[in-house]
């Protein structure tokens, strides 16, 4: 990767153009009344087509994607994105379809939704899906709306609380707040699982439901799920499943069988659609049959959701079929356990036992701290990994540990790749023990070095000046 400094505005020269429009063969309709006209045209770049192509190619070369290398970003399921899916998503017969066309004109697209719904229902144990949500957090919000709508439709308006474990993704409490629910936190036990005894006193008729991730954000299966489901259902609450961690359960366990009533899936995680540098995603929400009437009452996006993402997800599912679906769950779990076992003598593993698709270390066992020299932190380890050509794991999440380092390899990584990662992680641990300062200054081999984030937030420069 090389540093490239330009912004497209800096390539601009008055009079240079890159547009190619058909000749206007219509009679002139004249101009808008001046009271409605913009003073002057917006100051957009004036560049040529080759300028544009070279500029964005240069920008891309400062980026790291799954196709560049190993991306063990916990909770994000950075698996390989199959290329046939991209081809399918750009077929003109789908790309040119207007969202308001009736079902008769969009028969093929309707079949895509039907087939995808059928397959997701089989995988999750849910009955019906809405595909409108455009991302995971959007799915959470939609699911909570369904939960509230259900209670309200039964005249049960006093259910204003939702229970969220302290290990939850940040979006869980935020989605609950946006949905007008009060968040009640339930703590985890030392073994990383929900404390059922602490849950019991929180349960009453004011509880709309509980939001859970299983396996949870530590990558641990919530072994008490059956009891939790009975307790929550017992007071009339519903169980919401955050599908961000669905990958290890693919083909092995169904959330619907564990007692969950509502769930979302991240098609951009579990179902291999690319993350696009932060979207587009897709967060379809599945419900048990008795909640299906509530789906109709809730409109959360302009049209039918991110259809081109559904196309990719369906292509992926068709490639797996009944023969391979289980491999996703099993090998993602195998890979995570392998890395964990190979590194737990140098990184602190706070909770022993098998994990699912991911696990969390609580920093280095020996961070190299000496008198006057602070030890190497999780941030330092993450930055040093970049020097060795790997993306960093998720850091400082979950909040249960101070030096959290959350590693999720996914099933599409080979043993060789993981062995290379393991050996670099061990090397970094050795470097930390010897000379933590080397890590404080990392990364050294990337297009830029560590940024001044304080100044960025204190004196925000958020646009290029005109």
């Amino acid at each position: 990767m090389k540093y490239y400094d330009k912004l497209v505005f800096e390539l601009s020269q008055p009079g240079r153009t890159a547009f190619s429009l058909p000749e206007n063969r219509f009679p002139s309709a004249g101009k808008l009344p001046s009271a409605l006209c913009r003073g002057e045209a917006p100051s957009l770049p004036q560049v040529s087509e080759p300028d544009v192509v070279r500029h964005y190619t240069n920008l891309s070369q400062m980026n790291f994607g799954v196709d560049s290398g190993f991306y063990p970003l916990g909770s994000c399921t950075m698996k390989y994105n199959p290329k046939i899916n991209e081809e399918v998503a750009s077929l003109p017969g789908f790309a040119g379809l207007h969202p308001l066309m009736g079902e008769k004109s969009a028969t093929g697209a309707v079949k895509v939704y039907e087939e995808l719904e059928k397959e997701l229902a089989e995988i999750t144990g849910m009955d019906r899906f809405t595909f409108a949500p455009c991302a995971g957090a959007h799915g959470e919000l939609t699911g909570l709306m369904i939960m509230r709508q259900y209670h309200l439709s039964r005249g049960d308006s006093g259910r204003t609380k939702v229970i969220v474990p302290d290990s939850a993704h940040g979006t869980n409490p935020a989605s609950a707040a946006v949905c007008g629910l009060e968040v009640v936190q339930v703590k985890s036990l030392e073994n990383g699982r929900i404390d059922v005894e602490a849950l019991k006193p929180l349960l009453d008729s004011s509880v709309a439901g509980i939001m859970m991730t299983n396996p949870n954000t530590l990558g641990l299966f919530e072994t008490q799920i059956k009891t939790i489901a009975e307790l929550v259902h017992g007071v009339g609450g519903l169980l919401y499943y955050d599908g961000a961690n669905m990958n290890p359960l693919m083909g092995v366990v169904r959330p619907g069988d564990m007692g969950f009533d509502i769930m979302h899936l991240n098609l951009h995680k579990t179902f291999s659609t690319p993350h696009g540098g932060g979207g587009p995603g897709s967060g379809p929400v599945g419900v048990k049959a008795y909640l299906a009437p509530c789906l109709k009452e809730i409109k959360v996006s302009g049209f039918q959701g991110n259809f081109a993402v559904m196309l990719r997800a369906l292509a992926y599912l068709l490639s797996l079929g009944k023969q391979h679906i289980r491999e996703v769950g099993q090998y993602s779990t195998l890979n995570a356990n392998y890395i964990k076992e190979c590194l737990k003598d140098v990184y602190l593993l706070p909770i022993e036992g098998v994990c699912k698709h991911e696990f969390v270390f609580d920093g280095l066992i020996n961070d190299g701290a000496k008198e006057g020299v602070p030890g190497a932190s999780t941030l330092d380890v993450a930055k040093r990994l970049l020097d060795y050509g790997f993306h960093a794991p998720t850091i400082y999440f979950p909040l249960l540990f101070h030096q959290a380092l959350m590693i999720e390899p996914t099933e599409t990584e080979s043993k060789e790749t993981m062995d290379a990662f393991i050996s670099v992680m061990r090397k970094i641990a050795a470097e930390a023990a010897e000379d933590p300062a080397l890590l404080h200054d990392a990364p050294h081999n990337t297009p830029i070095t560590r940024p001044d984030e304080t100044t960025a937030a204190r004196n925000p420069v958020l646009i290029h000046p005109q």
């Binding site: 990767m1 153009t17 917006p42 950075m78 040119g96 969202p99 068709l318 490639s319 779990t333």
Partner: protein, 440 residues
């Protein structure tokens, strides 16, 4: 049987890894899952398809969709996509990256988001833009929640009835659960009524109003006096805009709006049956810290070089958790790149010319349709660009035109029929549509 082509494990790898972990087989990795929850039977899914079969499967489905000439907008516009855009956005360094958490290896993403933010500000005339939202309708919903957060103790947000129905529905859904009252401003003579807005402000409960810059009848609205009336009542003005039309119509800043939102789809994004699109939001400086979503800012690295980072994160859901006023995390980054490249290619001149072609085409179609005697012009004096509505005496016109190969004359909630002409529609196609109308 061979494993999935996306899974690299050999039998030898699996044995070695199991041995290192200290378990006897793959099933043992699920020993913590209660037996009753483990699937006994294989998934009831179709047989795995080869890549060749997948290609055929989707080609067959795509062919089942009608190949209609699109003469409808209503929130999704059939503009041309320059070939440079899919070429560049499909570069794997862009498309297979996650959110730019590690800025040292994400300067590509961070830079184009900074460019995108700058372009949205230049189009709207406002000071600050976020890194994108899901779509236009959810951007309006975020604006609704932001209005409440910006104006303490106000309970109500007003929506113009001239906003697209899907935008009103999504805002209403969010408002219902967020505990916000929604009031409606009627559209008199095809335009959001200033008198009705002033009337609604008397309650003192209004946090702000969301009004369309170009409305669902295609009419370019005159918002003279809107900001003044709202600001006098301690409320804010939100303009819902078509970013493509902003090249020629008065900008949100020129109407003294506080917030601008809309859908970036008209910036060359494919129709794709409704998504992915990209929602945008820009605000005046004063509201920066209440704006939802990610923001990229400029700073320097240790060597003093100009670099870009995610900033002002104290506003965001992962920090605020249960105190958050927005939960957005993933947005539509790649579609923001799509719009950024589009705007770079079009430039100011291209975007103005594009508006001219569409407007000329729409005016021509409207004239020709009126000449048939089958239509009535409800708003003859109102200015419009690429979209317009008419009243018609022809029953089931949309269905009849569909048989002739056109997607046109989409009924509105009032029973008018809506048309739209983009630069992709030639004069010949437009004449053929008029001919089909005559024969309908």
């Amino acid at each position: 049987m061979a494993r999935s082509p996306y899974i690299p494990h050999t039998d030898a790898d699996i044995s070695a890894m199991l041995e290192k972990i200290g378990v006897k087989d793959l099933d043992a990795l699920y020993s913590d899952v209660p037996q009753e929850f483990l699937r006994k039977e294989p998934c009831d899914l179709p047989d795995a398809l080869s890549e060749q079969e997948i290609r055929e499967y989707f080609a067959c489905l795509a062919a089942q969709n009608a190949n209609l000439k699109v003469f409808v907008g209503q929130g999704a516009y059939d503009h041309y996509t320059p070939s440079v855009i899919p070429y560049l956005t499909s570069r794997s360094e862009f498309i297979t990256a996650y959110t730019p958490y590690q800025c040292e290896i994400s300067q590509g993403t961070l830079r184009y988001i900074f460019e995108y933010q700058s372009m949205i500000c230049r189009l709207t005339g406002l000071d600050i833009s976020n890194a994108s939202l899901y779509d236009g309708a959810t951007a309006a919903a975020e604006a609704m929640m932001m209005l409440i957060a910006c104006t303490r103790k106000k309970t109500t947000v007003l929506l113009s009835e001239a906003l697209l129905p899907q935008v009103r529905e999504v805002v209403k859904t969010y408002a219902k659960f967020h505990g916000v009252k929604i009031g409606f401003i009627p559209a008199d003579g095809g335009e959001t009524s200033l008198d009705a807005l002033k009337e609604a402000l008397h309650s003192g409960e209004v946090a702000g109003a969301i009004v369309p810059s170009v409305n669902r009848f295609g009419i370019v609205e005159n918002h003279e006096g809107f900001a003044q009336a709202l600001h006098d009542a301690g409320a804010l003005l939100v303009e819902y805009c078509d970013p493509s039309a902003l090249a020629v119509v008065k900008s949100p800043a020129e109407w003294d709006a506080d917030i601008a939102v809309g859908d970036g789809q008209p910036l060359g994004l494919p129709l794709s049956y409704g998504g992915p699109y990209v929602g945008f939001m820009a605000v005046k400086k004063d509201h920066m810290r209440k704006m939802p979503g990610r923001i990229v800012g400029q700073t320097t690295d240790k060597e003093g070089r100009r670099v870009f980072v995610l900033t002002l994160q104290a506003r965001e859901q992962h920090i605020r958790r249960e105190k958050a006023t927005s939960n957005i995390c993933s947005n539509e980054s790649l579609m923001a790149l799509w719009a950024t490249i589009y705007l770079s290619l079009m430039g100011p001149e291209g975007l103005v010319k594009l508006n001219e072609i569409c407007s000329d085409g729409a005016h021509y179609l409207k004239e020709e349709l009126l000449k048939t005697g089958l239509f009535e012009d409800l708003f003859p004096a109102k200015p419009f660009l690429k979209e317009f509505v008419l009243k018609t005496s022809v029953e089931g016109l949309q269905a009849k035109l569909e048989k002739a190969g056109f997607f046109a004359a989409l009924p509105t909630e009032e029973g008018y029929v809506s048309f739209c002409v983009t630069e992709k529609r030639s004069k010949e196609e437009t004449d053929l549509l008029v001919k089909a109308v005559k024969e309908a």
